[in-house]
Amino acid sequence: MAENQRILVCAGTGCASSGAHKLIDALKLELNKQGLEETVSIVGTGCQGFCEKGPTVVIEPQQVLYCSVKPEDIAEIVAQDIMKGERVERLLLLDQVTQKPLSTMSEVPFFAQQHRIVLKNCGVIDPQKIEEYIARDGYAALKKVLKEMSPAETLEEVRKSGLRGRGGAGFPTGKKWAAILPTPSDKKYIICNGDEGDPGAFMDRSVLEGDPHSVIEGMLIGAYAMGVDEGYVYCRAEYPLAIKNLEIAIRQAEEAGFLGNNILNSGLNFKLNVFAGAGAFVCGEGSALMASIEGRRGMPRMRPPRSTVSGLFGKPTVINNVETWSNVPHILLNGADWYTQYGTDNSRGTKIFALTGKVNNTGLVEVPMGTTLREIIFDIGGGIQNGKAFKAVQIGGPSGGCIPEEMLDIRVDYDTLTKAGAMVGSGGLVVMDETTCMVDIARFFLDFTQKESCGKCTPCREGTKRMYEILDRIVKGEGKLEDIDILENLSYTIIETSLCGLGNSAPNPILATLKYFRHEFEAHILEHKCPAHSCSALLSYTIDAEKCKGCGLCAKNCPVSCITGEKKKPYVVNEDDCIKCGTCVDKCKFDAVVQA
């Protein structure tokens, strides 16, 4: 048996919901049973990233990765791997090409092609134990800064690193920090924005759950650089584990002297509060978030003044998102020069993406800025599920756009994506295949934004609703050709006249799909056809008399009994009564039901 044997069980929200805690319980039992409880440690970690194959278990130090582990597999893992050092092959991932089992993480392309800086500790340490963070250089950057660097030097290092805001807009972090300095005030604040709300995005949740101290340390360094003595982490209440781990981490940091007064005898004072937001997408917008902390309705306000002049409680405030703060300790510990080796000229460092949709390896990935979409989706993501054809990838959430196949080789950085009509956004990547209707996707995102619009400004409140209604009509085959013009005009007005970023970017999903998939809109309107065979209102079902064997399975399963026929003779669909549910297609063993 190897030394320092550790079993890392992913206990992030994804794996927890597929039974990770039962695994941990089973492991404890089994290790006790085998008398190994003293020699082998079990660690419930934050998200390990490979959500598709969760719950995942990593055996250290060998870095063996077991996928989709069930409690009944535990005895075998302990007996075979821990005790004998032999792999449980049936729980290993198979190489896509050779179909051979991949016994260590480094052999798994999903991990091998990532470059983890922010996620360095995620899935590796127990986030509820400060000593595990410290053991992996945690708080070393803070100590270095407090001992060796002045606040100005600290800020300069962040500026030099080229770090830009990971919340979506990509504002240079050093520049933002410097902006708070000139305003004299008895009180200044820094805020960590953890109100992650894009559909399909869970980067910030994973960092807060899996490595909360990295955020605390980043904010401490920021507090030192900016002369701030109080901060808030605004985390949505739907992330209970993130809040719990963060609160534990803050308590431990206070006990260890990293938070509080006269931190590490440096004279630095810093108090950190956690604020649970009640779940409004718009509260991810800085001024709305601050209103929410102040106890007011979460609605954005116009700038100027910028929050660096008048922010939380009217005091100068710097707000950065979770991932941005989490980058800071690494930059200060290793230096700006080290950091700038990653990424492209104007987009330094790495970026975490939440890879979801019709991709084989859904999960959390961290890659250097400038990696191509193709590398992320096909090399790391393992390509499209069920061998279907790639159609588009939606990047940047409801504010982003859909990027088609022909643009898969563009590099993911702030400027390139914006030019392509999308944006880095917070890092959601939703992959779509040939069965996805792009009009319906636009409708999905507009449904989201129109529901999440705070309602303050007219164009966003009324305009997104009307755009949704038009898209809904098109999807149902009730659209008119002039609707496309109306959509485009409305989009530009909303972009140009809305009050905050939500409205300014809400039409992006429409404009991007119109740009790359206009023919799908036209097909819905002119031909009443959905090219992806996805929009149920536009589908028709017929039975191919040649192929039909007359088994009657379709008729038997039709929920509205609109399929009739005699056994052994071709059946017929009565289209007037058909509710287009598609059950007949699924049931037919002979591909005789034609969906068009």
């Binding site: 409004a280 309705r297 999440e452 705070c454 007219t458 164009p459 997104t464 006249t497």
Partner: protein, 351 residues
């Protein structure tokens, strides 16, 4: 310090810190606004005052954009007008078109701008709000379906009245303005000062007792001073056909601006109370009998003269009125002193 900017091709100079909207208003350049009010903070919520600024890709709102030296602004370019028209179309699409019976007709900013921009509300057909009307109080009629969510009432309640009864509730298209928990006014903590009504640009908040009583163009407004306490608020009496039909705020009122209280704004219906005295009365055998002025005044003059002659002027006294005008009081004390000949005059000076 003055700053020179160019608005619609004309160079103008305005003080530093001025907003584009203020600059335009200083120079009689018309910009439509729905959520702006000089007495309140400006939020830039309605977006109707958007303008085009050279070098700026988007269309910022004039009310919340401060001028800078050399700024070049277009307030009526096709792009600006198209954007405003779209915004108005969106508002009208979700607004009842019962203008014929709306109390606000003739005084409705939405209607005025819709007319100016040729807006019909036909482009964006879709869902419209159908919310219950709040009429459970004697003063304010609140029709949330007409509300354009400009937020002025919310700010008037918090910034003028200091009450914060109103705020937004719900999100997006479902957003409403309402008292807490969506209660009707009379179940809220509302004082019925009516400041919300005074700033509403549309027919969402109207004075209940004025409904159906007159159209703006039929009404004569007479500024006067409120008779209901010592604050000295000014307001406009709204007069139609020789009758006071209600009160509206006068923004130029020196003490109070648009603010009033429930009495001043809603209590003047007492002017036409059926209980008003309309003719002199003389008590004969214990019963009041209507009399002509001559008869009544002669009787009073004779009686006073008699008592003065027989018992001296100090046997007569007068209570003057702290509710009547200075001029009334002056002639009253002069009457007692110079005509009757006594200083027996007082009023409830201390209450």
């Amino acid at each position: 310090m003055l700053i020179t900017i160019t608005i619609d091709g004309c160079e103008v100079s305005v003080p530093k810190g001025t907003s584009i909207l203020e600059a335009c208003r200083m120079h009689d350049i018309q910009i439509p606004t729905l959520c702006y009010d000089p007495e309140l903070t400006s939020d830039g919520a309605c977006r109707l005052c958007v303008v085009q600024i050279e070098g700026n890709h988007n269309l910022p709102p004039a009310c919340r954009t401060t001028v800078w030296q050399g700024m070049v602004v277009q307030t009526q370019s096709p792009k600006v007008r198209a954007a405003r028209k779209t915004i108005l179309e969106l508002l009208v699409a979700n607004h009842p078109l019962d203008c014929m019976t709306c109390q606000k007709m003739g005084n409705c900013f939405l209607a005025e701008y819709a007319y100016d921009y040729g807006v019909t509300g036909e482009i964006y057909q879709g869902e419209k709000r159908k919310l219950p009307i709040d009429d459970g109080n004697p003063f304010i009629l609140r029709d949330p379906n007409k509300c354009i969510l400009c937020g002025k009432c919310i700010k008037a309640c918090s910034q003028i009245q200091g009450k914060s009864i109103l705020d937004y509730s719900f999100r997006g298209f479902n957003m409403q303005v309402s008292p807490a928990f969506n209660l009707p006014y009379n179940e809220s903590d509302c004082d019925f000062c009516g400041s919300c009504v005074s700033v509403c640009p549309v027919g969402a908040l109207t004075e209940k007792h004025m409904v159906g009583k007159g159209r703006p163009w039929e009404i004569k407004k007479v500024q006067t001073t409120c008779p209901f306490c010592g604050t000295g608020c000014n307001f406009d009496l709204n007069v139609k056909d020789g009758k006071v039909i209600g009160v509206t705020s006068n923004p130029d009122a020196p003490v109070n601006g648009k603010a009033l209280c429930v009495k001043g704004r809603f209590g003047t219906d007492m002017i036409h109370s059926p209980n008003r005295l309309t003719t002199p009365l003389i008590k004969k055998d214990g019963v009041f009998v209507p009399a002509e002025w001559d008869e009544a005044l002669d009787l009073v003059a004779t009686k006073f003269q008699e008592i003065k002659n027989n018992y001296g002027a100090d046997a007569i006294a007068a209570l003057s009125s702290a509710r009547c005008t200075n001029e009334d009081n002056f002639v009253m004390q002069k009457f007692m002193r110079a005509v009757v000949g006594t200083n027996n005059i007082d009023h409830c000076a201390r209450t």
